[in-house]
Symmetry: C2
Subunit: 274 residues, 2 copies
């Protein structure tokens, strides 16, 4: 998906919500366990219910790998289902990969050619040749970890170098030599509040993928105040607060309602800018 | 596997070689393609041939994920095969994972409980709560990326902070608050030469997993000169130079010979220290 198509989807749906498909078989409603593939059955119901209110889906690979071969089957079926039924959804494989060049190249082949997702999250620690193999696939995106939503983000990401530049700022600056805003986004946690102002000084145009509202405690309003651009420039993810809002037979309906609530807040925020 | 068991294996086998099972279906000998599971058939032959000369195996997950469900099946069969037939081998899942706490916890469950490998490589960028969920599993190890073997290691890992500490040094120092040398190792590329001296000032006892000899050009002799401890303290990985040494029906024999050559060099190096 191109940047222009993504922006058009956001404008049309008045939403920049990404639903995180962090599907844990230990947390899904019990009645689904009798299905042949309970994880896929859950995802399918969640997708059908929330698709009108979101513009992206983000399965985190950890949840699928935790189930081994069965998990990979459910993951592949989920991607395929979204692709075939909701072609306007932006699909993010939240994989946080990053390896030496020839290995990153294989990961890129897996995610962009075999699975055909739109974007992969990538960790920056190993530098340029661990990231660039993911680039150059038309309409495909790297979403690079910059400033994450967790407490551990303080350990290294905020480390100031001898010129006063923090590590996440160096990642933002340096990685612009590798790709522009039509192929690169950044992960910035919703819990980082005013850091969005500093981030927008370095990447005024790039889309930011923002996890951490809901269960992790970040504020949508604050994220928009400091992070939104004239093109929106934000994809805000919510996982647990939507997909596990109910644990009964009505789980999909309740998820739809939760997604709609977030979409309506987003519509208000978009009015200020678009 | 405990640290004492690992050291005992190294002493007994006079080897600290890890064979990297980076098995690419596009690179294995053609006659294997008629097997039901060519990747597993290749791994099995390589393992049987090289086991006398090495103390560890390291499959890199990227190569298996590149094949989707089939790849995961081959990966699981490979782990199981080593476990059942060569229980004294240390198994490293080279996955370079790292995510927020509840997600890293799932990855730990996958690798240590479901798959039962000995160690997982982990990326440090997201800090403490992305790493600690991998700890506390008895006899299991985190191998944290410190100073990698690729060119991109210069982009961020060598960045000096305002106190003159480089990022990889901060990772080494800070992570010692999370685990000791009985549960943590570090990845240091063989291409980093004299940096091993600086690393040993911060982690004098820890084992280092050293990729980058062979295809990537690092020198075993230099790694030993600057990195070896009285307990050896090194696990040196070679992948392509061993497993793809021949592309014909004799591939396993040739791999065995290559592994033996490295083992004999290692035996010499061990004589200086153990």
């Amino acid at each position: 998906m191109t940047r222009q198509e993504l922006i058009a989807n956001i404008q049309r749906k008045k939403s920049f919500l990404c639903v995180g498909l962090d599907t844990d078989i230990q947390k899904i409603p019990e009645h689904l366990l009798k299905e042949e593939d309970p994880v896929f059955a859950f995802n399918k119901a969640i997708i059908d219910a929330t698709a009108p209110y979101c513009i992206a889906y983000k399965p985190n690979l950890a949840f699928y790998e935790a189930m081994g071969v069965k998990g990979w089957i459910a993951f592949e079926k989920t991607i395929k289902y979204i692709r075939q039924n909701y072609p306007d959804q932006f699909i993010i494989a939240d994989a946080k990969r990053g390896d030496i060049g020839n290995t990153s190249k294989l990961y890129a082949r897996t995610f962009f050619e075999t699975l055909d997702v739109d974007a992969v999250t990538v960790a920056p620690y190993m530098g340029e040749d661990s990231v660039t193999p993911f680039l150059g696939h038309e309409g495909k995106w790297v979403i690079l970890l910059a400033l994450t939503s967790n407490k551990g983000s303080f350990d290294f990401q905020l480390n100031e170098d001898k010129n006063g530049e923090r590590l996440f700022e160096k990642v933002l600056r340096k990685s612009q030599e590798w790709a522009k805003e039509d192929a690169m986004m950044y992960v910035v946690g919703a819990t980082q509040g005013k850091a969005f102002e500093d981030i927008r000084k370095i990447v005024p145009q790039h889309f930011l993928l923002v996890p951490g509202i809901g269960a992790q405690g970040g504020s949508l309003e604050e994220v928009c105040r400091y992070g939104m651009t004239k093109d929106c420039g934000l994809i805000v993810n919510s996982s647990r607060a939507i997909i596990y809002a109910s644990n009964s037979e009505d789980f999909a309906e309740v998820a739809a309602q939760k997604a709609k609530d977030v979409q309506q807040e987003m519509e208000k925020q978009l009015k200020y800018t678009l």
